[in-house]
């Protein structure tokens, strides 16, 4: 898949994983596993990018005697998901156009 496209998709996936409730690194990976495999390094990069874009906030909390980082979606993050849904309708119509052209051949 095109790298740019995949990057955008992964961003939205991670946002969706923290949409309903705050989550932490390993839980995000586990939640996404049935849909797509995500490596630790990739997740780290995505989280940093989303934080820089103000689409999520990070807080550190104690868990079982150690520290864990929790990620919370922001208004902008929710907005990004909605935007993605709209964009995707366009992508689907483009897909239909592309495959229609193929049928004519």
């Amino acid at each position: 898949m095109d790298a740019q496209l995949k990057r955008g998709l992964l961003d939205v996936c991670v946002l969706a994983a923290i949409k309903s409730e705050d989550s932490y690194g390993y839980k995000i990976i586990k939640d996404m596993k049935p849909y797509l495999e995500l490596s630790e390094s990739t997740l780290y990069t995505i989280l940093k990018r989303l934080e820089a874009a103000n689409m999520l906030t990070v807080r550190t909390a104690e868990h079982d005697g150690r520290l864990r980082k929790y990620y919370r979606i922001t208004e902008a993050g929710v907005g990004r998901i909605e935007e993605f849904k709209k964009e995707w309708k366009e992508v689907i119509s483009i897909y239909q156009f592309v495959t229609k052209e193929e049928d004519h051949e």
């Binding site: 690194g25 990069t45 150690r66 980082k69």
Partner: protein, 200 residues
């Protein structure tokens, strides 16, 4: 590999990078391993799922912007010692002109490239004007009755004009080449910093 050796190996692999980036990465991977062990995985299994240390280090280097790397290298970790400040101040008449000279050389390189291109275009334009002028003079000579010199002038004018049209292609190629060369020089300067970084 257990948790501690993994984190120590990662720290060693990241050495030389900005300190805050190192600490954040280590905390992230530490938390990931802890969470897996909480699920019942053994320490070794949890560490194995992180992937090779080298891959993580390579990715980290890739993601830190060049500007931050350069800033980090230029800013000393400790304060400057007294004699270093004295050297910097006393050496100013030496290192400042050198720095200026280096910048001037790069600038001169750009200037030379573009002046060359500009002179090529000038030659071409003059050839064109000259050609048109010769043809006009030739026509005037013929109407005045000097038929033979007129034909010679017109011939020369046609040659010049033809040459000018032909040379346009050469000039275009030279301009494109100059743009490409300029980009290559810029890339070379950038690489200079990256190479220094990876050696460190």
């Amino acid at each position: 590999m257990n948790r501690e050796t993994f984190l120590a190996a990662l720290r060693a692999a990241l050495a030389g990078l900005p300190q805050d980036d190192i600490e954040e990465r280590l905390a992230f991977y530490g938390e990931m391993i802890d969470d897996r062990m909480e699920e019942g995985l053994s320490q070794e299994e949890a560490v194995a799922e992180m992937g090779p240390v080298e891959d993580i280090a390579a990715q980290t280097l890739e993601e830190i912007p060049l500007a931050k790397l350069v800033r980090e290298t230029i800013t000393p970790r400790r304060g400057l010692r007294g004699w270093e400040i004295v050297l910097l101040v006393l050496g100013f008449p030496v290192w400042f002109p050198l720095l200026l000279a280096a910048a001037a050389v790069v600038l001169a390189l750009y200037a030379v490239i573009w002046i060359l291109v500009a002179s090529l275009w000038t030659v071409d334009a003059l050839l064109g004007f000259n050609g048109l002028g010769c043809i006009a003079t030739g026509v005037a000579s013929i109407t005045r009755g000097d038929v033979l010199p007129g034909i010679a002038l017109m011939g020369a004018g046609l040659v010049c004009a033809g040459l000018a049209i032909f040379l346009v292609f050469g000039c275009q190629a030279a301009s494109k080449g100059a743009v490409r060369l300029g980009r290559a020089v810029a890339r070379g300067i950038k690489k200079l910093f990256v190479r220094k970084e990876s050696v460190k």
